[in-house]
Each structure stands twice: as structure tokens, then as C-alpha cells.
């Protein structure tokens, strides 16, 4: 009989105990991406050249807007609160155009991601482009992957010191040029560059250069893949953007596994052998330091360099390219099912090949048709709708506006003849870079008269006001109405402004107040 006071000790180890606990801080393991060539690499060079050219050259483009506006094609004139973009000029109250563009950029990112995966991350994101640029410098100075690993592990010799100092010096120079280019978007570039080098530019210019130099150097040179993995929110969001029909960089283990470095031996032993020869080329080229063969992962920015690496190896081995390729999850799953006989066994490459060499024609391939699906249609529609709305608004927007502020203290003044006078601050907005003469008239207030301090009103009761190009003109207009015409405590009427030359006009409905009892 068992003694009931004795208990049997269960088999258990503390999951979280000092002896097993991992440190919260994981030191960064350095990544030494190997240089690779191929179609995607060539495409990335092209994208890099285009994006860098856009960034560095845009402020230097000129655009003639006449004598009253700056001739810089793209200029954010913070001092005068104007934004110039080629033929478009935006005033602060039209900032919704920028907001609209940001909405379009957001939806566009959804659209691109749902069709071709993280193309933004892999090709055009500034972080990717600048890291790529910094890696060019690194390779040029310290050599390719193996040389860099050796140099990094070696002791500090004079050579290592020289290489490291020159690498960081060039990085800093690039970073300074990056910060330097940014400020030219905010002032006339040709004159600002002289001022910058003469030391006479505004302090904010130097501060901006300094901050952007520091961030570029730190993010592009020192932190690199950590920015994408730990700092950027997009890798988290993209999970919701991707679906089973989105193209993404995929290791096709249905034809790669079981991987083997000794394919002939394994074949001789009668074991199944996949196409992957476990050469690790895909791992060596990865700027994120991951192994794509582990499957879809948050760190992968889909730069596709592993595709180039693997295709090169496949070419040498005389096998079909595309062991690593852009594929959708649904295609991958279908092929995987074929290779495992519906999950019945582990991957057996012979199941996807007809007679041991050519691929079975039952394999799923990506088809352009799959781009057009409800999700992308919704994104495309939303994107186009915002774009068309912005375009319509841009093409039909007013370049002449009137805003009216009704005096509230006092609301009205009784004049000696008993008539009632109201005061208005009228703002005329001439939103084109040319001087204009604006005619102000009043409609809908019986027998009322306008007056402006210091201006003699012409007989036709219309007021001609010259307004400077691209400026706002403020007028204090008094409106008075004879007592016998006043029929309500508040009457509405219109201020109408018109440019007689262009027939542009605008109206503002204002209120005319009177005391309860006149007379």
C-alpha cells in the first residue's frame, strides 16, 4: 500500500529561471553581404541610380514662373508659406493636396505590396538605397564578403586602420551630401549652395545638414538591417497586406529538398535529392543576414538578390533557374502538395518531375491574371478615386479668393443720419504670380453703400483694388444702409470680387447686423 503522505515529484523544469533565461539584449551579429550579379541586381542598380538622381538633382531643376515667383521647379518656401511643384503652386490652406498625395502613397503602397510583395522595401526605400550605396563603398575599400570577414576578425593593424578610417570618411561624406541636398528643397538652390560654403547660410540649414548627416550615417552605415527589422513599422503592417496571391521571394523547397552537398553520393544510395546543393550563396548575399530557405519571414525585404545568387548557381549546375523565385503562396502550396503527395510524405522531388528531368506540367505557375483580384481592384479604385478627386480639384481650383471677417466689436454703428454701418475686414487672395486689379462690389443689400478709409469711392460703387502678385490684400470696408431700408436684425448680402482681365471671380456671403429698433 502506498503512503499517501508521499507525493510523486512531477517531471518539470522552470521555463523562466536564471539558468535558462536569455539576456534581453542581443548583440548585433554583423552581416557581410556578398556581391552578386544578375537581373535583379541590374534592376536594383537602375532603381538606385534613378532614385538618387531624383533626390540630388530635383532642387536644381528650373521652371520659369515669370518675374514675380521663384524659378525653382520644386521649392518648399517655408518663409513665404508657398509650395511650388513645377506648374502647381500651393498655398498653406491648400495643404490637403499634400495630405491627398500622402493618402495616395499609402494606398499605393498597399496596392504594390498586395501584388508584388515588399517591392518598396526591396528596391526603392531610401534605407535600402542608401545601405546599398554604403555597401558599394564598403566593398570597394575592404573587398568582398570573405575579405571583409577576415579584416573584421583580424587584429588592428595599420592597414585595417587605414581601410576603416577611409570607409567611414567616405560614408560621412555621402551622409553629408545627403543632408546637404535636403536643404536645397527649401531655398533657391544655386544661391544657397554659395551661402552654405561661404558660411553665411541660416543656422537651420547647418543644423539640418548635421542632423541628416548623423541619421544617414547611423542608419545607412552602422544600423543597416536593424532599422528594417526593429525600427520600421512596415514589416509588421505588410503581413496584413500580403495574401496567398501576392508575389514574394520564395524558396521553392518542393524542388529543392532534400538539399544535399553530395548529390551524387545520395543518388547512388537511392535517396531522393532536391535541386538545392546547400551552397549557401543565397545566405551570403542577403543584406538582412537571413536564410530565405527558412521560409517567409519578417526580416526579408524581398530585394531578390538571393534569386540572382541561386540562379547563378543553377546555371552552373545546368539546372532550371528559379529554385528561389518570385512566387505566390497559393502556387507554392499547390506545388508543395504535389511534391509531398498531399502531405503524405516528406518532399520528394521526383513527384514534380515527369521522368526524372523535366518538370511536370501540373506545376502551378504565376499568371498575370492573378494580379487582378478583388483586393487589388479595391486598392486601385481607392487610389484612382483619390487621385482623380485631387486632379479635379487642382484643375478647377480658384486662383482668386475673397474671405470676409465681420467686425464684432462693435457689431454695428449708428450714424448721425440714423443709418446703420457695419465694418468688414475683406481679404483678397491673388493666388497667381502676377499683379492684378480686383474689383470689389456688393450685392443684395438695398441702398447700401461701401466706403474705405482713405479711398474715394467711384460713382458706380465698385472698388478697384490693385493686389500684388501672389499676395493677400487686406481691406477695411465699411457698409452702411439707410434706416428705412433695414428690415431685419440680420440681413445677408454678397461681396463679389472679380478680375476684369481674366473674368475670374469669387463671392462671399456676409451678414449685415442692425439694432432691434432703428428709429
Amino acid at each position: 500500500m502506498r503512503d499517501k503522505t508521499q507525493t510523486e515529484p512531477p517531471e518539470a523544469d522552470a521555463i523562466d529561471s536564471p539558468s535558462t533565461r536569455e539576456p534581453l539584449y542581443a548583440p548585433r551579429k554583423k552581416v557581410f553581404p556578398k556581391r552578386i550579379s544578375g537581373n535583379f541586381r541590374r534592376f536594383k542598380w537602375l532603381v538606385m541610380a534613378i532614385t538618387l538622381a531624383i533626390y540630388y538633382l530635383t532642387p536644381w531643376l528650373r521652371w520659369d514662373r515669370g518675374p514675380f515667383a521663384p524659378d525653382q521647379a520644386v521649392l518648399i518656401d517655408l518663409a513665404n508659406r508657398r509650395f511650388y511643384f513645377f506648374f502647381i503652386e500651393i498655398w498653406p490652406q491648400e495643404f490637403y493636396y499634400v495630405a491627398g498625395l500622402l493618402v495616395m502613397a499609402g494606398i499605393g503602397l498597399f496596392l504594390i505590396t498586395s501584388t508584388v510583395g515588399r517591392a518598396w522595401c526591396g528596391y526603392t526605400c531610401p534605407q535600402t538605397v542608401w545601405v546599398d550605396l554604403f555597401l558599394v563603398v564598403e566593398r570597394a575599400i575592404e573587398g568582398d564578403r570573405n575579405a571583409r570577414i577576415k579584416l573584421d576578425a583580424g587584429s588592428w593593424t595599420a592597414r585595417k586602420l587605414v581601410l576603416r578610417v577611409s570607409r567611414h570618411a567616405i560614408w560621412l561624406a555621402i551622409a553629408a551630401a545627403t543632408g546637404g541636398a535636403w536643404i536645397f528643397y527649401f531655398a533657391d538652390a544655386p544661391s544657397l549652395i554659395d551661402e552654405v560654403f561661404a558660411g553665411t547660410a541660416a543656422p537651420v540649414a547647418y543644423i539640418t545638414i548635421g542632423v541628416l548627416t548623423a541619421t544617414t550615417y547611423t542608419f545607412g552605415g552602422l544600423m543597416r538591417e536593424q532599422v528594417c527589422t526593429y525600427m520600421c513599422p512596415w514589416p509588421r503592417i505588410q503581413a496584413a497586406m500580403l495574401d496567398e496571391n501576392s508575389l514574394t521571394v520564395t524558396y521553392n523547397d518542393w524542388r529543392g529538398e532534400p538539399r544535399s552537398r553530395h548529390a551524387k553520393k545520395a543518388l547512388a544510395a537511392g535517396q531522393p535529392v532536391g535541386d538545392c546543393v546547400d551552397c549557401n550563396a543565397c545566405v551570403a548575399v542577403c543584406p538582412m543576414g537571413i536564410d530565405i530557405r527558412d521560409g517567409q519571414q519578417l526580416e526579408c525585404i524581398t530585394c531578390a538578390l538571393c534569386i540572382d545568387a541561386c540562379d547563378g548557381v543553377m546555371n552552373k549546375l545546368g539546372k532550371e533557374r528559379g529554385l528561389i523565385s518570385y512566387a505566390t503562396l497559393s502556387d507554392y502550396n499547390a506545388n508543395m502538395a504535389a511534391a509531398t503527395a498531399g502531405g503524405a510524405c516528406s518532399v520528394n522531388p521526383s513527384l514534380v518531375r515527369t521522368d526524372g528531368s523535366a518538370f511536370s506540367n501540373r506545376l502551378a505557375h504565376f499568371h498575370v491574371r492573378k494580379i487582378f483580384r478583388p483586393r487589388t481592384f479595391v486598392y486601385m479604385s481607392a487610389w484612382s478615386a483619390v487621385g482623380l478627386a485631387l486632379l479635379y480639384s487642382l484643375l478647377t481650383r480658384d486662383r482668386l479668393e475673397v474671405n470676409v471677417l465681420h467686425d464684432r466689436n462693435p457689431q454695428f454703428v449708428t450714424l448721425s443720419d440714423g443709418s446703420i454701418r457695419n465694418g468688414y475686414t475683406v481679404k483678397l487672395l491673388n493666388m497667381i504670380p502676377e499683379p492684378r486689379t480686383i474689383v470689389v462690389t456688393m450685392q443684395g443689400l438695398a441702398d447700401a453703400e461701401m466706403s474705405v478709409v482713405g479711398i474715394d469711392m467711384p460713382a458706380d460703387r465698385s472698388l478697384s483694388v490693385p493686389v500684388e502678385p501672389d499676395r493677400l490684400k487686406m481691406l477695411k470696408i465699411f457698409v452702411s444702409q439707410p434706416a428705412e431700408q433695414i428690415n431685419a436684425r440680420a440681413q445677408t448680402f454678397k461681396f463679389r470680387v472679380e478680375d476684369k482681365a481674366s473674368f475670374e471671380s469669387d463671392e462671399y456671403t456676409a451678414t449685415f447686423n442692425a439694432p432691434e429698433i432703428v428709429r
Binding site: R408, P410, T414, L415, S416, D417, G418, G423, V453, R519
Partner: protein, 287 residues
């Protein structure tokens, strides 16, 4: 001191302090934190040397940079004065009429005068210069002592019925309650009220006209249009400083109220008064 104590539960060394079996762990601070802490100490020492910091008997150490926020304010005020200098000089040299005719100077004077008005004038005339009973509305076109810019300037400079200023303008309406009969007061009130359109008792209006001609026309004029030389109001218009209607008029005839405005010339200086005059003139009623 004995050797290091290691807490058995957490495997962390302790400070050796223990209360009822609870030991104080000695987790080291993160290195970046410690470094930052020492840097702030160094910074603080440097700061107290560079800037005013240590309390002394009567003041504090001035610091090697000899910084003073009061000095900063003084410099900024001086800079602002210098920036305004050319406008102030022009205002000094020109008459209010010339100032009002010049776009730039008028804009400057209106801005400066508006600010001065908010400080000095709103107590009586109201924040919108709309006045109230007994305090004239400065927006309208009815002026007791004249609505030209020069006249406004004179009114502001010397005040009205302000005993301390020898150049002040004065006038006094007699208390007619002691001079004419209550019946005559009713008659003249009805007459005056009828001048601006209000229909009075017609039976009183005709004799009221006679009372007016005998007693009031001397100052208010034969046609009751008033006289800005004497500060006598226009009785034919729609604006009534002490209220419209026969009752209010009768009260004013019987025992008149007389407003007093202080002289501002000595207190504000010539330029400020000019700015105020241009501002008031611009409110819409200036002549």
C-alpha cells in the same frame, strides 16, 4: 566588510542590507545610464561656472559668461525701438493729416495706436471704441469737438473739461431746471426730439421752438446743428450721448451731465497721441 552576498532566489548580489528577511538586491545600473549621469555632473559644474548660479550674500555669482536674462530683454526692447525708429521719427516730423495720407505710416500708426487704445482708452470708450451712455462712440460720424484728425489729436492731447490742463477745451451747459419752468422744459424737449424725426406732442413742439430759440440756440445754433467749437452736440441727428427720447432730453435740459476726458499729451507723448488720433480717425467716422 565581509565578502559579497548572493541572493539565492534571484542569483543577484545584494547590498548586505536586510529587513525581516527581505534583502536589497544590488543590480548594477546600465552602463549608458551611469555614463550619462557622470556627464550631467560634469555639465552641471561647468554650467554653474559659466552662468549665474551660486547664491552669495546679496546676489549670486555672475558666471564667466556674465549672462543676464534681464539684459536680454533690455537688448530686445532696444532692438525693437531701433527697428521702429524711422517710423517714429517720421511720425514725429509729420502732421496727423500727412500721416493719414501715407499708406505705410498710416498702417504703422493704426497698429501702434490700436495697441495704445487697448491700454489707455478702452476703460471709458470700450474695447471696440463703441462707447456707452455718457462716453462717446468713436466709430460714428458725430463729433462733439470735431472729427478731423487734428481735432482728435487736440482732444486727446489736452482732454475735455480737464482742469489740470490749461489748454483743455471746456464748455458747460447750464442747468435749465433753475432757469425755465418745467412746462417749458417739456415743450423744448418735445421740439428737440421732433428735430430728428421722432413725433412728439405737436401741441408742445411749436412753443418748444420758441423756448429753444430763446435759451438754446446760442450754443446749439439756430438750426440745432450744434457747434464743435463749444462741444455743443448736434441735436438733429440720430446719436444721443445721454439717451434718445423726450424723457432723456428733459433730464439733460434740467440738470445736464458733462463728461470729462483726461489730457493724455503729457502722459503718452506727442508721437503716441498722433498714433491714437490716426487710429481713432480710421475707425470709420473720421472727417
Amino acid at each position: 566588510m565581509s565578502g559579497e552576498h548572493i541572493d539565492e532566489v534571484s542569483d543577484v548580489s545584494t547590498t548586505g542590507h536586510e529587513w525581516d528577511g527581505i534583502k536589497e538586491l544590488n543590480n548594477p545600473l546600465p552602463r549608458w545610464w551611469v555614463i550619462t549621469f557622470y556627464v550631467t555632473i560634469v555639465w552641471a559644474i561647468g554650467y554653474t561656472i559659466a552662468y549665474p548660479a551660486w547664491t552669495m550674500l546679496s546676489s549670486a555669482t555672475r558666471g564667466v559668461l556674465v549672462y543676464s536674462s534681464r539684459h536680454d530683454v533690455k537688448n530686445e526692447l532696444e532692438a525693437a525701438e531701433v527697428a521702429k525708429g524711422k517710423y517714429v521719427a517720421a511720425l514725429q516730423a509729420k502732421t496727423v493729416f500727412e500721416i493719414a495720407a501715407d499708406d505705410v505710416l498710416r498702417g504703422f500708426a493704426i497698429a501702434a495706436g490700436g495697441a495704445a487704445f487697448k491700454v489707455n482708452c478702452v476703460q471709458c470708450h470700450g474695447s471696440g471704441a463703441q462707447g456707452s451712455k455718457g462716453f462717446p462712440n468713436l466709430n460714428d460720424d458725430d463729433w462733439l469737438w470735431g472729427g478731423k484728425a487734428e481735432q482728435i489729436q487736440q482732444t486727446i492731447t489736452h482732454g475735455i473739461r480737464f482742469a489740470s490742463d490749461s489748454d483743455t477745451r471746456l464748455s458747460e451747459m447750464p442747468a435749465f431746471g433753475d432757469i425755465i419752468t418745467p412746462e417749458q422744459i417739456r415743450q423744448v424737449s418735445a421740439y428737440v426730439s421732433s428735430l430728428s424725426g421722432a413725433v412728439g406732442d405737436q401741441a408742445l413742439v411749436i412753443p418748444g421752438a420758441n423756448v429753444f430759440a430763446e435759451n438754446c440756440a446760442a450754443c446749439h445754433g439756430d438750426n440745432a446743428k450744434g457747434n464743435t467749437e463749444l462741444g455743443a452736440p448736434d441735436l438733429t441727428d440720430a446719436i444721443w450721448l445721454y439717451g434718445a427720447g423726450e424723457t432723456a432730453i428733459a433730464a439733460q435740459v434740467r440738470a445736464p451731465k458733462q463728461g470729462v476726458m483726461p489730457a493724455w499729451g503729457g502722459r503718452l507723448g506727442e508721437v503716441k497721441v498722433k498714433e491714437l488720433a490716426v487710429y481713432v480717425h480710421s475707425l470709420g467716422g473720421g472727417e
